[in-house]
């Protein structure tokens, strides 16, 4: 230790500042905002929520298709279908062509969405024929399904199918039937590929061209574009999703705001007044909680009654408010009671603060965070409730679209055109997910106990 210079033993001149506070001081909301920003999941959710609101409010200004318009050329079309259509002549009735060349079951002309014209030679021992159309080839078990037509005259050897034809592949079968209408063993089957066609008149009607002179038979033309496809009535899915979003989000956001507001007023009144009134008020809230929620949603809905032409949005909103306020009321009352016991309230009172000041300066800021989190979590549950009720047909009345009623319509064609279920279901899930994650983030950000951790 000889290497220590004696100067090093001189007293330390400048004492370090021992009381320095290294972290800047932040207000409650600043701190909460900083922590929300650092929570990536919550932030992404916030963007999704903003995006959804834009989709709902601004969407119809950009995508101006009428959600009620039925594009009968394109029914239940998944997104990304080829929209090309051949312009053909107007439909002319057809009564078979006995001189058509060929044997067995055959096409009189190429299949189009306008008509598929079948011609065949009468089957052996047939007392008549049944015509079937399937989207899969007949297997060995020969599951025909429901017949398109039953032709009891064995001499009738042609059939024209105009039923709801879509571009794609169909399998037509003609089966012989016996005298009592029973299916016989002999049958013929044919694969038909159907092409999308339209006529000049239709094209003008649909607004695809301005003037009939622009178009000639044999031209190729693009049908109306549906980015997300169409539903079972040929309505544009994107436009309906936007319209449905308006209903779903109106209920999903409007109802929570209303019942949280009511709950806040009710709960803070109970908390402030206290005593017997408080007991009575909270007991009433307990009763409302005990009502079986979904059953009463339905009950209230029918109690309101929906007249013709009404959408049923308003009854649902009211029913939600009537049934869902007690949770908020309990929470706010508890919060108020807790704050009332805090030392800083007594200190403030000792310093001469008026009740109004206490409410404005202490009660409201200290309950606001909790209330905000409640609203955020109430939104997904309200959206779920709406979807649930509309799905079982107890929600908004058709034709008003909502994501729930769209899912209800979509589930019927789930096996053939899943997009009609997938899109509304996806929107419900995405919205619920975003609000849930945002709620988680907000709760963590506003929880003062979590300050300076992480």
């Amino acid at each position: 230790m000889t290497d220590i210079a004696s100067s090093e033993f001189a007293p330390l001149q400048e004492q370090k500042e021992v009381h320095a506070i290294s972290r800047p001081s932040l207000s409650y909301w600043q701190d909460a905002w900083i922590r929300l920003k650092s929570n990536r999941r919550a932030l992404v959710s916030l963007y999704i929520v903003i995006g959804l609101l834009l989709f709902t409010l601004a969407g119809p200004w950009i995508w101006r298709t009428d959600p009620a318009f039925q594009d009968l050329d394109q029914v239940s079309q998944p997104p990304g279908t080829n929209r090309g259509a051949l312009v053909v002549e107007d439909y002319q009735p057809w009564f078979g062509d006995q001189f058509l060349a060929g044997e067995d079951l055959r096409l009189a002309e190429p299949g189009t969405t306008q008509a598929v014209r079948l011609q065949w030679d009468p089957l052996d021992a047939a007392g008549g024929h049944r015509v079937y159309r399937n989207i899969f080839p007949l297997g060995p078990e020969r599951a025909y399904g429901i017949p398109l037509a039953e032709l009891l005259d064995p001499e009738t050897d042609y059939f024209e199918d105009r039923l709801d034809l879509k571009p794609g592949r169909y399998y037509y079968s003609v089966v012989a039937i016996g005298p009592r209408g029973e299916l016989l063993d002999n049958f013929e089957t044919i694969e038909v590929s159907v092409q999308q066609v339209t006529t000049v008149i239709e094209a003008v009607e649909r607004g695809l061209v301005d003037d009939a002179t622009e178009l000639q038979v044999g031209d190729q033309i693009d049908l109306i574009w549906h980015p997300l496809g169409t539903d079972y009535l040929g309505r544009d899915l994107l436009a309906r999703l936007m319209a449905g979003a308006r209903v779903s989000l109106f209920i999903g956001i409007g109802a929570p705001f209303l019942f949280v507001l009511f709950g806040v007023v009710y709960g803070s009144m109970a908390g402030f007044i206290g005593g017997r009134t408080d007991q009575m008020m909270m007991r009433f809230a307990d009763f409302v909680v005990a009502l079986p929620f979904l059953l009463f949603m339905i009950l209230f809905k029918i109690a309101f009654g929906i007249g013709p032409g009404e959408s049923g949005v308003f009854p649902m909103l009211v029913a939600l408010v009537v049934l869902m306020w007690p949770a908020t009321a309990r929470l706010v009352r508890g919060q108020i009671l807790q704050i009332r016991e805090q030392g800083y309230i007594s200190a403030s009172q000792l310093l001469g603060a008026k009740t109004s000041y206490l409410i404005l300066r202490h009660m409201i800021p200290n309950t606001l965070g909790v209330v905000l989190v409640t609203v955020t979590f109430a939104i997904p549950s309200a959206i779920f409730t709406e979807a649930f009720l509309s799905f079982i047909g107890m929600g908004v009345a058709p034709p008003t679209p909502s994501w729930g009623s769209m899912s209800n319509e979509g589930i019927k064609t789930m096996l053939t055109t899943p997009h009609e279920l997938i899109f509304p279901a996806m929107f419900i899930s995405l919205t619920v997910l975003a609000f849930n994650l945002l709620g988680d983030g907000l709760r963590d950000a506003l929880d003062a106990r979590m300050r300076n951790t992480e």
Binding site: D286, F287, A290, L291, P292, F293, L294, L295, F296, I298, L299, F300, I302, A303, F304, G305, P380, F384, A387, F388, F391, I392, G393, M394, G404, S407, N408, I411, M414, L415, L421, A425, I428, S429, L430, V432, L433, N436, L437
Partner: protein
């Protein structure tokens, strides 16, 4: 303890009375005359019904009559199905809903506790991430979508195997119940998993677990004797509301899987405006839920000594 049970039961009866009253006045508010419905019945039955429910009397008398019938356990006769008592309908269809609901609750509670404990133990490691991702999906995807997707999967599975491994719809055997019960319990399970996870995390870092470690208790015993029992308490408190959510949430599953439960019957009754069935079912469900909440609370008392000995 017994005093507590009796007190809770009395409270429960008052709550059921409130539910019955709310049901009565809500239904009374429905526009139109229930008997002017085109589905309504012959003149004789009509007169019978009018006398029985006092429909020509003032509302106060009707209400008292209704309460008297209820207190005798008589929910009345269906308006649309001749000679069928609401009690019969409930007796026939409720057991189906109850079995489905109980299976779903067991599934949700067992899964929630198991997965919640797992995620807490493997916090911020792969099992935690995987389970929590699925939990968030379970919370966000509506039950009807899950029901539809699982049906789709069953169809694919059955056609891939070539025989009916699990039936796609219907009711009867345990095989019919399995998938609908899982679908029904899924949302609740996701919720319980989250709850169990946070509760378990709190317990893991608690002082008494540290004490148990300092005693040299092996981890498996710490988990079984110290962590699980304490972490499960908050899960049990929400089990009452969870049962309520599951039993009424059964509507959708019963619709999608074509299960002849009370929920499906209720929806049908609402579509046909069958007043007595609607009212009877609502009051019955309400009473059942109130009773379940009491059962859960009493059960809780047996697990948490702090409540039991109060």
């Amino acid at each position: 303890m017994w005093l507590y049970v009796i007190k809770r039961l009395l409270q429960g009866i008052i709550t059921v009375w409130f539910i019955a009253t709310a049901t009565f006045f809500a239904m009374h508010n429905v526009p139109g005359d229930p008997l002017l419905n085109d589905r309504a019945v012959t003149e004789a039955i009509r007169a019978n019904l009018e006398a029985r429910y006092g429909l020509d009397q003032p509302i106060g008398t009707q209400y008292l009559l209704y309460l008297r019938n209820l207190s005798r356990g008589d929910f009345g006769i269906s308006f649309t199905q001749e000679n069928r008592e609401v009690n019969d309908i409930i007796r026939e269809h409720f057991p189906v809903s109850a079995i489905l609901g109980i299976l779903a609750v067991v599934f949700a509670a067992a899964g929630g506790v198991l997965f919640g404990a797992l995620t807490a133990i493997y916090r911020n490691r792969l099992p935690d991430y995987i389970i929590m991702f699925l939990v968030i999906l379970g919370i966000s995807v509506p039950s009807f979508v899950v029901a539809a997707l699982s049906q789709l999967m069953l169809v694919t599975l059955n056609s891939a195997v070539g025989t009916t491994v699990l039936p796609v719809a219907g009711w009867g055997t345990i095989l019919h119940m399995l998938v609908p019960a899982m679908v029904l319990g899924l949302g609740t399970m996701a919720y319980l998993t989250r709850l169990m996870r946070s509760s378990m995390l709190e317990v893991i870092s608690s002082d008494f677990v540290r004490t148990a470690k300092s005693k040299g208790v092996p981890p498996a015993r710490i988990f079984a004797k110290h962590q699980l029992r304490n972490a499960i308490l908050p899960v049990i408190t929400v089990l009452g509301p969870a049962i309520a959510a599951i039993t009424t949430g059964g509507f959708v599953v019963e619709l999608v899987f074509a299960i002849p439960g009370l929920g499906r019957f209720f929806v049908q009754a609402v579509q046909q405006l069958d007043y007595t069935v609607i009212m009877g079912t609502t009051v019955f469900y309400g009473a059942f839920l109130v009773f379940m909440v009491i059962v859960v609370d009493v059960l809780y008392g047996f697990i948490d000594p702090r409540v039991r000995l109060e």
